[in-house]
């Protein structure tokens, strides 16, 4: 499905990043291929750059500063990858993270020491919570200055330790190439995650002979790939015996590139399937067997089927608090659980599991499909039919129904129209809040890696840098950032980056003049006392977008929504960044909703209020 990718990627590289003035990004850049000769001594800075080139990195998202100037000087001299200058280090990490989410390759960010690192921490933690493979190279003060409270010094390894898969401080230039290789290996294998490589400035100046290791041997790190065959057999047996089966899948299916196999297995069995917020696109959302997203704002049918199934197959998902609510309530119903995950610590963490299978989800699903195919037993057709009748009854509640006949734009309507206008084939990034939930509920993702959002950490401000990272990876694709007027302001400075690199993303702001999700909780649980959740001095987003050289649109009426979206995604504006400010209903809430601490089947539905 990504056949076009390599081609379009090359095309971008050849464009050589023309800026608005038509000038090359680095007008005086020279390329000295001599520095890529083997057997010559290289500085640490050259080694960093050559390692990135060896890894096939296309884009480095970064921001220069004192401690990384040697590295930037080497970046200036090469043409193997593009550097994308962001306006804040947090956005550099988010963009690298989105690049990784959309392509499946390791994203790379480069920041300076001290504040460069602390600004990057939110991005790193965001990637960590969603298990995204990124490598962040950070500058550090020279080794003799470490611990001396030097200018722009921070204990990078210490400050990032709780939010990385692993981190390194490279104190000797001889260890640099090995460390970079390990960083990419660790980030991208097993349960993926961010890896930080902290490089002191003197190390970037020291010289050594460079050779990039071809393989990595680590006695302490060998992720399990193949699932235990006995457990796989038990799982198949259990699946075929099910009367009320349910398949529940998460981000692991996306990260493990297992959605095709998941789809095959689900169709083969004829069982219902639900995805978590992180797992959307893992199973085609327009398929009849798909029950929608589950969890706090999941559909009625998905949550009810999850609660009442007798055999649950969980794939690359972790039963977190936003998915099953109260684990004690979830455990009230008897069901047998099969759990496939590459990370053993995700299994039996919040919910006891009957058949744990540690392994790569793609491999294990492949093994299961093979055994189901060979098995003489077939699913119990009568029981499965009865189960589907029950599910259709739940589905007939039409829990995502909303009233859009008024004079005010309903946010859900904007997302539905966006889905139609983009033919369901856009990359959608979102920020965090109500708009994120509406995007997840109303944009039907049929393909994996199309839905890019911060599920675990819930980081407001990711949307625009995420869209940048995706658009750079897929220059010809439609990329939209669904956001709110509060979230977008957390990284609005990146409109400037979009201008510099002509990144034609479309920002869809569902502007309700409130921090919507905060307002919703305050309405429900705090007696409608809207403490500090109202934005009283919003900018004129149209003028703001125009001041950055983009196109701004303000849409007030429901009847203008479709035409505006069509215009934004028209060929005429294909090369332009468009900022769309939709003035939406201030009082709209996200339904269904499972209150914190409640059980999955204790949803509040829109019609009940």
């Amino acid at each position: 499905m990504f056949l076009g990718r390599e081609k379009s990627r090359k095309a971008t590289l050849q464009q050589d990043f023309l800026t608005e003035t038509g000038q090359n990004d680095y007008p005086h850049r020279f390329t000295n291929d001599l520095i890529f000769c083997d057997f010559m001594e290289a500085t640490g800075a050259e080694i960093v750059v050559r390692c990135l080139a060896e890894e096939g990195v296309e884009f480095v998202f970064g921001y220069p500063g004192g401690a990384v100037l040697n590295i930037y000087d080497e970046i200036f001299k090469q043409n193997k990858f593009k550097h994308v200058l962001v306006r804040h280090e947090q956005a550099a990490v988010h963009a690298a993270d989105a690049y990784a989410r959309a392509t499946g390759r390791v994203g790379v960010a480069l920041v300076t020491s001290g504040p460069g690192v602390t600004n990057a921490v939110t991005g790193i933690a965001t990637a960590y919570m969603d298990s995204i493979p990124i490598v962040v190279v950070t500058g550090q003060v020279p080794t003799p200055a470490i611990g001396m409270d030097a200018f722009q010094e921070v204990d990078t390894v210490g400050i990032t330790r709780p939010c990385v898969k692993h981190n390194f401080l490279v104190k000797d230039v001889k260890d640099l190439a090995d460390t970079m290789k390990k960083a990419f290996h660790i980030a991208s294998t097993g349960r993926p995650g961010p890896v930080v490589v902290d490089v002191p400035k003197d190390v970037t100046a020291h010289k050594t002979t460079f050779s990039y290791p071809e393989t990595v041997e680590m006695r302490s790190y060998n992720p399990v790939v193949k699932g235990h065959s006995g457990q796989v057999k038990r799982a198949v047996q259990m699946l075929l015996e099910a009367k009320r089966p349910m398949i529940y899948t998460g981000g692991g299916v996306i990260l493990g590139d297992a959605s095709e196999l998941l789809t095959e297995l689900t169709r083969m069995l004829g069982y219902p399937c639900t995805n978590t917020l992180m797992g959307l696109g893992g199973y085609p959302a327009t398929d009849r067997q798909f029950l929608g997203m589950l969890g706090m704002h999941g559909t009625y049918e998905a949550n009810m089927a999850m609660q009442h199934c007798d055999v649950l197959l969980a794939v690359g998902a972790r039963f977190d608090d936003r998915v099953i609510g109260n684990p004690a309530h979830f455990a009230r119903e008897q069901r047998r659980i099969i759990h496939i995950d590459v990370d053993p610590s995700s299994i039996s963490k919040r919910v006891r599991v009957d058949v744990p299978i540690v392994g790569d989800v793609k491999q294990v699903l492949g093994d299961i499909i093979e055994l189901v195919r060979q098995s003489k037993e077939k699913p119990d057709a009568a029981a499965i039919n009865a189960w589907w009748t029950q599910i259709e009854l739940w589905r007939s509640r039409d829990c995502l129904k909303y009233n859009h006949n008024g004079a005010i734009i309903k946010p859900q309507y904007v997302v539905e129209k966006l889905w139609e206008v983009t033919k369901g084939d856009a990359f959608i990034t979102s920020d965090v809040g109500q708009h994120q939930m509406w995007a997840a509920q109303y944009y039907k993702f049929d393909k994996p890696r199309r839905w890019i959002n911060s599920g675990g950490l819930g980081t407001m401000g990711v949307g625009l840098p995420y869209a940048m990272g995706v658009q750079l990876a897929f220059p010809d694709a439609q990329v939209a950032c669904i956001t709110g007027e509060s979230s977008i302001q957390m990284n609005i400075q990146e409109l400037s980056t979009c201008k510099q690199y002509r990144i034609p993303v479309k920002v869809i702001t569902l502007n309700n003049r409130y921090m919507g999700m905060v307002r919703q909780w305050q309405e429900f649980f705090y007696g409608s006392r809207y403490a500090e959740s109202y934005m009283e001095s919003l900018p004129d987003f149209v003028k703001l977008a125009e001041s950055y050289g983009h196109i701004g649109m303000r849409i007030d009426k429901p009847e203008d929504v479709e035409a505006a979206l069509k215009e934004a995604f028209s060929p005429a504006l294909k090369e332009r960044m468009v900022f769309m400010d939709f003035m939406t209903d201030q009082t709209e809430n996200v339904f269904p909703m499972v209150e914190g601490g409640k059980g999955l089947s204790e949803m509040i539905l829109a019609e009940e209020l």
Partner: protein, 163 residues
């Protein structure tokens, strides 16, 4: 329940802080933690005494295994094992109490390793509960200072933790 978890990890800067950080970040208890390099200087052996329900202990061992620097983890309390802790205790040793203190130390197989006319310093090894028992057996007013290493542990018989 009390568990003794042994692990082997790469003897690298910051390795200890990864383990300590894991316990504090996830709210696990640490009763004691000891660490030193093994006969292979690239390896550190750590013994952690912790308490928690079976679910918590399972999570602790899984989370420890997940640390990239950790090579092997074993819950010693899963099988037969030996546990020892070293304690140094400085006590007042004057008058009639001087002889009494020496006798009590001998009963607990302690050794007096430093002497002044007013004090003894006693070295004692054993399980944590034996050391507790000694401290309970002597008059608390006599105790000047105690220092304990925390438990180290090893499996009995053929059971071993090796790379």
């Amino acid at each position: 329940m009390r568990h003794i978890i042994s692990l082997l990890m790469e003897n690298e800067a910051g390795a200890l802080s990864r383990v300590a950080g894991l316990f504090s970040a996830r709210g696990y208890n640490i009763e004691s933690l000891t660490v030193a390099p093994t006969e292979d200087a690239t390896l550190s052996r750590m013994t952690i005494v912790t308490t928690g329900s079976e679910d918590i202990i399972e999570q602790i061992t899984k989370q420890l295994n997940k640390l990239v620097d950790v090579i092997k983890v074993m819950d010693l309390t899963d099988g037969r094992h030996i546990e020892r802790e070293l304690m140094l205790v400085k006590v007042k040793a004057v008058g009639s109490g001087r002889e009494e203190m020496k006798r009590t130390a001998e009963i607990f197989r302690g050794r007096i390793i430093d002497v002044t006319d007013a004090t003894y310093t006693i070295e004692m090894t054993g399980t944590g509960s034996k050391l507790d028992a000694f401290l309970e057996a002597i008059d608390p007013a006599y105790i000047i200072e105690t220092v304990r290493t925390g438990a180290s542990g090893i499996g009995r018989g053929e059971r071993s933790l090796k790379v």
